[in-house]
Amino acid sequence: MFEFSLNLSQEIDKNQIFDLIIVGGGPAGLTAGLYAARYKLNVLMIEKSFISGGQLTGIDTIENYPGFAEPVLGSKLAQNMAEQAKSFGLKSINAFVDSLDLQKDIKEVKVGNDIYKAKTILITTGTSSGKLGIKHEDEYVGKGISYCATCDGPMFPDKKVLVIGGGNNAVKEALFIAKYAKEVIIIHSGEKLNAAVSNIDKLKDEQKIKVLLNSSVKAIDFSDLKNKTFEIENSSNNKVETITADGMFIFVGTTPNTSLVEGQLELEKGYIKTDCSLQTNISGVFAAGDVIVKELRQVATAVGDGALVAYKINKYLSNL
């Protein structure tokens, strides 16, 4: 009935110079950590959350990651990846990175009162949920607006909830929220859902979920928290309907987590530009996973990036 997850920071000697510091502990960072540790590099991973796994930790189940015939819990896959990497010697701490100094030969990572140093840096900070960009959105996060179904879904028992988006995340998270809520309405701006057919098929068996297509949320009014209203515009007939619901979960696109490297690394539409070795415009600074310019952002592609970048970093270090 109960799961218990344990992931603690390790004691780290701050005076050493690491071969590699990985900033961000999602699938790309953990895979790079696993490979780098197996290359016997002295590697430290810094993860802002207390739980490694990045966005995996906030996902109910994964069905398209090879090796699992049955859907695997995101939290379980994350935990397995972290344990595997640590078993080969990956060191990790759980802390917010305050700033990065990437310009010198020895790179510096400032964490609270401490500075960690390394010959190379790998940025695997991933992405965060995209926002709708409507008025009052930020104001009501945690008061009815959420971007994490596994976190906040249980807060809506027998409630009516809107899920915004039409991709795999939106559909899968709507199915998760329906375990708790009495009614879930998926609101998607397109003519049809973009999710995988296998996910869309599951909606047919879930009576609690309705889908509104060609629709988008134009405005919200949460001034009365017991009677939250949402203005929904239908683009096919331009009609605006006001509906009431208890909460809204948003799964529309992603925003790269690049605030730490802005002004230092070359970006394209906010994502980090890399060459075919996954090296950035600064020598010795690499990036991988969802945070880089790429076409497909999946756990499988992040893992592939992680393996490749560790190989390239190992080569880079051997040429120093």
Binding site: L6, A95, C151
Partner: protein
């Protein structure tokens, strides 16, 4: 059946070798009308069995009313993590899922006294001379919650004026409704100020400043 699997128990035993001072777990429970008391009790027994430096004391919420009042325990299951001194660290509800990490972090903190707080945060906490009550609402499936709980507990450990509770939101639904918790983590500061998400130390400091 054991609550913790063998892998976690062996991790705990290894980790607890690094404990320094003895840690006192004061657990408040009752036999009836408490959905998660028995499971929490079992969990704490298994944690305490992993190190001879961890002592578990069990109190009945009704019969040991005076002790409950002394530690400001107003709901159960409740846990105080302390050494010879009450450090203001509380857990209300079962620390399962990702919150198990918060529990183990609090044991490490109390035993070793090792804080991760920034120097600027300690400077600020030195100026706090009025009681501050932090209630961090969480769910066990929220990966962003443990940093918020651990930060609050570290502040409580450092400042004798601060008391910090982890509150499992779905177990204490009435309280969640009272504080309008619809997303976690949500930190309630002295009943009237609120902080959403696992925010850096400076954000929580700003909220506490409202009461100084």
């Amino acid at each position: 059946m054991a609550m913790l699997d063998e892998k976690i128990v062996s991790q705990l035993k290894e980790l607890f070798k690094g404990l320094d001072k003895e840690v006192n777990l004061k657990f408040f429970t009752q036999e009836l009308e408490c959905a998660f008391c028995k499971d929490t009790h079992n969990l704490l027994q298994e944690v305490a069995a992993s190190s001879d430096k961890i002592k578990l004391e069990v109190f009945d919420f009704q019969k040991d009313k005076e002790v409950a009042e002394q530690y400001k325990i107003d709901k159960i299951p409740a846990l105080v993590v302390m050494d010879e001194k009450d450090r203001g660290i509380r857990f209300f509800g079962i620390p399962s899922g990702y919150e198990f990490t918060s529990l183990i972090e609090s044991i490490k903190l109390v035993s070793t006294g090792k804080l991760q707080l920034k120097e600027s945060t300690k400077d600020f906490l030195n100026t706090v001379k009025k009681p501050v009550h932090l209630q961090v609402f969480v769910t066990p499936t929220c990966p962003y919650c443990p940093p918020a709980v651990v930060l609050a507990h570290q502040m409580a450990y450092y400042s004798e004026y601060i008391r910090a509770d982890m509150v499992e939101a779905s177990e204490f639904n009435t309280l969640s409704i009272k504080y309008n918790v619809q997303g976690v983590p949500r930190t309630v500061v002295n009943e009237t100020e609120f902080l959403e998400g696992a925010a850096p130390e400076e954000y929580l400091i700003e909220k506490i400043k409202a009461f100084l």
